[in-house]
């Protein structure tokens, strides 16, 4: 029973961070109908931001969120404006492949500059976990979990309460109608891509203290990210949250009750099953 509770808690905490990566991807897909294969690299950049912030300026990784999130927002907007904008009219396939090239480029420039060493961030307060009810919870993971929820709520408020946010949601639901209603689709696209990138970067910053980082970590995260967004329905923010937590829990329980070797396999089988039988996502919230 203790084992079950422990793995459930671990799964939910890790799943919340997976969800954050997924939200970034799904928001971009919702508006632009593109799958950004370089999304994992954006997470990687966030992780390295947290690392260098601590290594160079003794900045606590969680504090550094206020620096890296806006910066990644700008990076995202620039990426869209100067790299992607001309590609998207060329079609889904070209955009997909273009972002694959971008992913390779970013990962390998990072590999060249930062070398392939694996790095971890150690926090003085991260060594001993807290143990409420006998369940061990790592402090950095708990903080990251809290911040992930805060960011998600902030995002939700932005999307539902501001004009720009409503425009994004309208474009996501029906681009033609949104254009007719006078939404500046171009502006919405720039902001959305910035938003998706900022979310990826923020997720990277939050993940860094609980994980390790290396320049090609993005590939690993991207594959998980696909599973999440498909579970929840491509384009749906609540779906990505649910999908992330579900994947976290399934992986966690799978490792305990089946075998860690098949952990990833369980995720993929679930992924295929959902794709085939509920292509709109497990919870029917996607389109």
């Amino acid at each position: 029973m203790e084992t079950f509770a422990q793995s459930l808690v671990s799964g939910v905490l890790t799943g919340a961070l997976y969800a954050m990566i997924g939200i970034g991807l799904t928001v971009v897909f919702g508006v632009m109908k593109i799958i950004n294969l370089a999304h994992g690299e954006m997470v990687m950049l966030g992780m390295f931001g947290a690392f260098w912030g601590q290594a160079l300026w003794h900045l606590d990784p969680f504090v550094s969120l206020v620096v890296w999130t806006p910066l990644m927002f700008v990076v995202g907007m620039l990426t869209y404006r100067f790299l992607l904008r001309k590609i998207i009219p060329g079609g889904e396939l070209n955009t997909l492949l273009y972002t694959a090239g971008l992913s390779l480029l970013i990962a390998n420039v990072a590999l060249f500059v930062w070398k392939g060493d694996y790095r971890t961030i150690s926090l003085s307060y991260g060594m001993t976990p807290v143990r409420p009810f006998g369940i061990a919870i790592a402090v950095p993971l708990a903080i990251a979990f809290g911040l992930a929820i805060a960011i998600t709520v902030a995002l939700w408020l932005f999307l539902s309460r501001t004009n720009l946010g409503r425009a994004i949601r309208a474009t996501s639901q029906n681009p033609e109608a949104a254009t007719l209603m006078g939404v500046d689709v171009e502006r919405v696209a720039v902001v959305t891509f910035g938003l998706g990138t900022a979310l990826a970067g923020a997720a990277g910053v939050l993940l860094a203290p609980s994980l390790y980082l290396y320049p090609t970590v993005g590939e690993l995260l991207l594959v998980k990210c696909f599973v999440i967004v498909v579970l929840g329905g491509l384009g749906s923010v609540p779906g990505a949250i649910a999908g992330g937590i579900l994947l976290g829990v399934v992986e966690s329980l799978g490792a305990v009750y089946v075998s860690a070797t098949y952990k990833d396999g369980i995720g993929f089988v679930l992924f295929l099953a959902v794709l085939l039988y509920r292509p709109s996502g497990l919870f029917g919230v996607g389109k």
């Binding site: 422990q6 793995s7 671990s10 070398k115 060594m127 390790y212 992986e251 070797t261």
Partner: protein, 407 residues
């Protein structure tokens, strides 16, 4: 484009043809210089460089200088075969070394065997490389199945060390499975109850579930095998976070022995045993002198990779000295192979003599260092330092066992 390739190929050909007897002796070494394994390629580059500098400064080999030609294989098997081919047929190296990971070394061994060029394996540890009867392939370092030899010796001979039960957690790579399997075999032979036998995929992000499961079996010993440093660090961190308190944590694999392990884990690393790869006997003054010299030159302390790379060059230099080189590539390569067969020397790594013998899992070895079983040691982390503790002959300090219970 084709013309360009042809022209550069022709240029290489002309250069190679000009290699007269006065030219340096070339040693080929495929290593991962870019890609995810690049840090390891760099370690070997430094080690080779230092050995070659020393040998050349002392007059070279029979008056000829040595030269190492490193080609990047990016940790890809297909590229490893390509660069091995290139080194042997284009660069016309006399002998090969390097490889870094086992998959790439398999390809290099296969190409070397076909093109009749001696290949001295300096680090890859898959048993298969020296169990396929390749007479052109030699190996100085111990194979994966030999790694747990010191652990076996420890549980047998240290007072009251025999485990009551053990959990074995290993990655599902070739490296992890070989060592995990060999350790389980040893434990079962001693009648130890293996309560958990867990494989995990490499680069796992979260070991807490696995460790929760392991904790439920209440093991007396926890054996962790990791090919990746990150896995080694996270395995330990999550095991401790989940509150595992065995009498001993024993880590197998390079990750448990690198400085990062201690800096990242801090107090969590204390008293963890590392049955990491052998990197020479630290009590041997010559090995110690090498450590100091390497540290003075590059500012980092050498570990197994550097010691293996450095020793490989000396083993090759020794064979080259004894081989009668005539300038005929095929004859010279065969002469070097024969000279390697007669190798009987001591390097900073330890004693070397290649022979055919039967390994711990019953595989027939060809040209595997016969002293390999002695090249296994258990070390322990003490205040951020990794010190050898077992067997006694190689011990640098007294060991702490069982792990003291906290509070």
């Amino acid at each position: 484009m084709k013309r360009l390739v042809l022209r550069s190929l022709a240029a290489i050909g002309v250069l190679a043809a000009a290699t007269a007897m006065a030219q340096p002796i070339k040693i080929g070494a495929p290593q991962p210089m870019t890609g995810p394994d690049a840090p390891f390629g760099d370690k070997f580059k430094k080690a080779y460089g230092m050995a070659i500098e020393e040998i050349n400064a002392a007059g070279g080999v029979n008056g000829r200088k040595l030269e190492i030609v490193i080609e990047d294989h990016q940790a890809k098997n297909q590229l490893a075969a390509t660069v091995a081919e290139k080194l042997i047929t284009q660069e016309k190296v006399l002998v090969m070394t390097g490889g870094r990971a086992s998959g790439q070394a398999m390809e290099i061994a296969s190409v070397s065997q076909r093109l009749k060029t001696p290949y001295l394996v300096d680090h890859p540890s898959a048993d298969m490389i020296t169990t396929k009867g390749f007479e052109w392939v030699f190996r100085n370092n111990p194979t994966g199945s030999i790694y747990p030899a010191a652990f076996q010796d420890f549980i047998t001979n240290y007072p009251a060390a025999m485990p009551k039960s053990a959990a074995v957690v290993y990655d599902n790579t070739l490296f992890g499975k070989t060592i995990g399997g060999a350790a389980i075999k040893i434990l079962k032979a001693k009648g130890v109850n293996v309560v958990a036998d867990e494989a995990y995929p490499v680069n796992t992000l979260d070991f807490k579930p696995t460790m929760t499961k392991v904790k439920g079996t209440n093991p007396d010993y926890v054996l962790l095998v990791a090919v990746a440093t990150t896995d080694a660090i996270l395995l330990t961190r999550h095991a401790k976070e989940m509150g595992l308190t065995p009498r001993a944590f024993v880590g197998f694999g390079g990750g448990f022995g690198v400085a990062d392990y201690a800096t990242q884990l801090g107090p969590l690393a204390e008293n963890v045993f590392s049955s990491a790869a052998w990197s020479g006997n630290p009590n041997d003054p010559k090995t110690k002198a090498f450590y100091d010299k390497f540290h003075a030159k590059y500012g980092i302390w050498p570990h197994e990779h550097e010691v293996e790379g450095y020793s490989a060059i000396y083993i090759l230099a020794d064979a080259l000295k004894r081989a009668k080189l005539t300038g005929n590539l095929d004859a010279d390569r065969d002469a070097i192979r024969k000279a390697l067969l007669a190798t009987d020397m001591v390097t900073v790594f330890g004693k070397v003599k290649f022979g055919n013998w039967t390994g711990p899992t019953g595989d027939p070895f060809t040209n595997q260092n016969v002293y390999s079983p002695e090249h296994s040691v258990m070390a322990q982390w003490k205040a951020g330092q990794l010190l050898n503790v077992w067997p006694k002959a190689f011990a640098e300090t007294a060991l702490t066992f069982p792990e003291p219970v906290k509070k």
